[in-house]
């Protein structure tokens, strides 16, 4: 947390801000996929709705930041509920494809002239909360990572209660879970809406940091990258996705001349993780510590 104090002008602050923003989406996504076992390839759409809603509310209607963010979260959750009810009856790759379809729909809509077309929305004002403007990298870093820290604690809390257990039960065996008194549909929809809320909040933070948003930032590749971040760090751990986000955002900075191979290297990382370390870095480390503890 002392990094911006030690290196106030560092480009790495920007990298860490974006890692925190995307990490926030992945934390919510982990509850949905890591705990509840529901794969969504439409989280790029949820992220976009949060970003555009907050951007439009502040730039077109002059709403204060907090109200704009709240409105963005509300709209995203409402849409997630409407989309989730029919699609979460599906399983496996059918669910993945249906949610991907949702992502395509959102991307197509934000490309229309009503939402600024390919240029998107610009001149998004910085976040202002109770009169304090988060208009420097340093204070935005602290804002993002404070939010991330608090929401990781919230998600860990949810995970260690009966809610978390019911999600894991649904993940393993939906029918047996139902016979244990678990409302499987409600469990899946709640997880989807909750993850949508985090995606929307992250979208708002993204919009107000960059001051410009355009449809190219919210395409299907974002959902694929979120999956990669989650599996790289470790699905089902909550904070594993943050580690995945940090690695994925730091990676291009180390590639140098290999930067043009970034996508290929990410794909290779995906394959290697799934083959050799399916529980991700956090899961792998936990296993190693357990083994050492038992010998």
């Amino acid at each position: 947390m002392g990094f911006p104090i030690a290196f106030p002008e560092s480009y790495w602050i920007t990298v860490l801000i974006y890692a925190g923003i995307y990490g926030l989406v992945v934390v919510g996504y982990d509850l949905l996929l890591g705990y509840c076992g529901q794969i969504s390839l439409g989280h790029n759409g949820l992220f976009a709705i949060g970003a555009y809603a907050s951007a439009i509310a502040t730039t077109w209607f002059g709403w204060p930041s907090l109200l704009a963010i709240a409105g963005g979260i509300f709209i995203t959750c409402a849409i997630a509920l409407v989309v989730g009810i029919p699609t979460l009856r599906l399983r496996g790759y059918y669910l993945a494809i249906a949610t991907m379809g949702f992502g395509f729909i959102v991307e197509a809509i934000i490309r229309t002239e009503y939402f600024g077309g390919s240029s998107g929305i610009s001149d998004i004002p910085p976040l202002t909360i109770l009169g304090y403007s988060f208009d420097t990298d340093r204070n935005y870093y602290y804002l993002v990572w404070t939010i991330v820290f608090l929401l990781v604690i919230v998600c860990l809390r949810i995970g260690e209660t009966a809610l978390g257990r019911s999600m894991k039960a649904v993940h393993t065996d939906e029918e047996a879970a139902a016979c244990m008194g678990i409302d499987v549909s409600k469990t899946k929809i709640q997880a989807f809406v909750f993850s949508a809320a985090l995606a929307a909040l992250a979208g708002s933070l993204y919009a107000h940091y960059g001051a410009v948003i355009s449809p190219s930032s919210f395409n299907i590749m974002l959902s694929v990258k979120l999956l990669l971040m989650l599996f790289l760090g470790g699905a089902g751990s909550i904070y594993g996705g943050l580690i995945g986000a940090l690695i994925l955002f730091a990676l291009p900075e180390f590639l140098g001349q290999l930067e043009r191979l970034e996508l290929a290297l990410e794909g290779l990382a995906f394959m290697l993780i799934l083959i050799f370390l399916p529980s991700g870095l956090v899961g792998g480390l936990n296993k190693m510590l357990k083994l050492r503890g038992s010998t």
């Binding site: 949810i158 894991k168 065996d173 047996a176 016979c179 244990m180 008194g181 709640q190």
Partner: protein, 270 residues
């Protein structure tokens, strides 16, 4: 005479925990169950026997809501529960185990049992996030009750073990503990004795009797006739989806039709 017949009928209904009327189930063109009627009195051990494919597990699936596509009516005490979702039926007091053990492999032994508490815990997101004290109290209650159920079936000390590390007999006991954690009025046990050795079978019998003493009604599907004869108050026999006999164990043992289709000539089952 009429009055006494009505009174008998009312007494029967009052004493009944589960009734099935004209239950029929088709899988495509195959009739798995055909007009099955049954009545299970409160507090008894009611066994269902029959050859493989007779419809026993299918009947369990219909009662528990696992399969809601059937004809006929199932009434729990005086409430029709036909076609209710399985989680609603569990909340109303019916819990079950499965013919092939279906434990949650990504949860520990204790967590598996704690899942059974879900129906009466009613966990909430807002309480988990904002009322940490109440949420923690709820968790302690679930954990404590789950430990009690594990001790009840003889699995104390295994709370933090992984499910995969348990032997088959222990996995079956864990499933029973999980079902009991739901605080059921009616417990459905689907072939709890399958694959158990003699010592495990004796342990199972003890648990079934202990559960009866708790006034929990049990319906048991089982092939082990020695166990069935020792524990049952009432037996129903199914064959090719139809009920061919119902009565007390000794009556079933002597029923010609049952002997023909299922028991065979070996009557050393008492």
């Amino acid at each position: 005479m009429v009055e006494s017949k009505d009174k008998l009928r009312m007494d029967k209904i009052m004493n009944s925990i589960l009734r099935g009327r004209s239950i029929s189930k088709y899988f495509g063109g195959l009739q798995a169950l055909s007009n099955v009627d049954f009545n299970v009195d409160r507090g008894i051990i009611f066994s269902i026997i029959g050859p493989n494919g007779a419809g026993k597990t299918t009947l369990f699936n219909l009662i528990s809501g696992f399969d809601r596509n059937y004809e006929g009516e199932v009434v729990l005490e005086d409430e029709p529960i036909s076609h209710y979702a399985p989680h609603i039926i569990t909340i109303k007091g019916v819990a079950r185990t499965f013919q092939n053990v279906r434990l949650f492999r990504n949860l520990s032994v204790l967590e598996n049992v704690a899942v059974g508490c879900h129906g009466w815990l009613s966990p909430r997101y807002l309480r988990a996030i904002f009322n940490v004290k109440a949420s923690r109290r709820e968790e302690r209650t679930a954990e404590s009750f789950a430990k009690e159920m594990l001790a009840y079936v003889g699995l104390e000390g295994k709370e933090h073990d992984e499910v995969e590390s348990l032997a088959l007999g222990e996995q079956k006991l864990l499933e029973i503990a999980r079902a009991l954690a739901a605080k059921p009025r009616l417990l459905l046990l689907d072939e709890p004795g399958a694959g158990l050795n003699d010592r495990e079978m004796d342990n199972l019998q003890e648990i079934i009797f202990k559960t009866k003493e708790q006034n929990i009604t049990q319906i048991i599907v089982e092939h082990n006739m020695k166990l069935i004869m020792r524990i049952s108050d009432q037996i129903m026999v199914l064959n090719f989806g139809t009920k061919i006999a119902e009565g007390e164990p000794q009556d079933i043992l002597n029923d010609q039709k049952v002997i023909e289709v299922y028991l065979g000539k070996d009557k050393d089952l008492a």
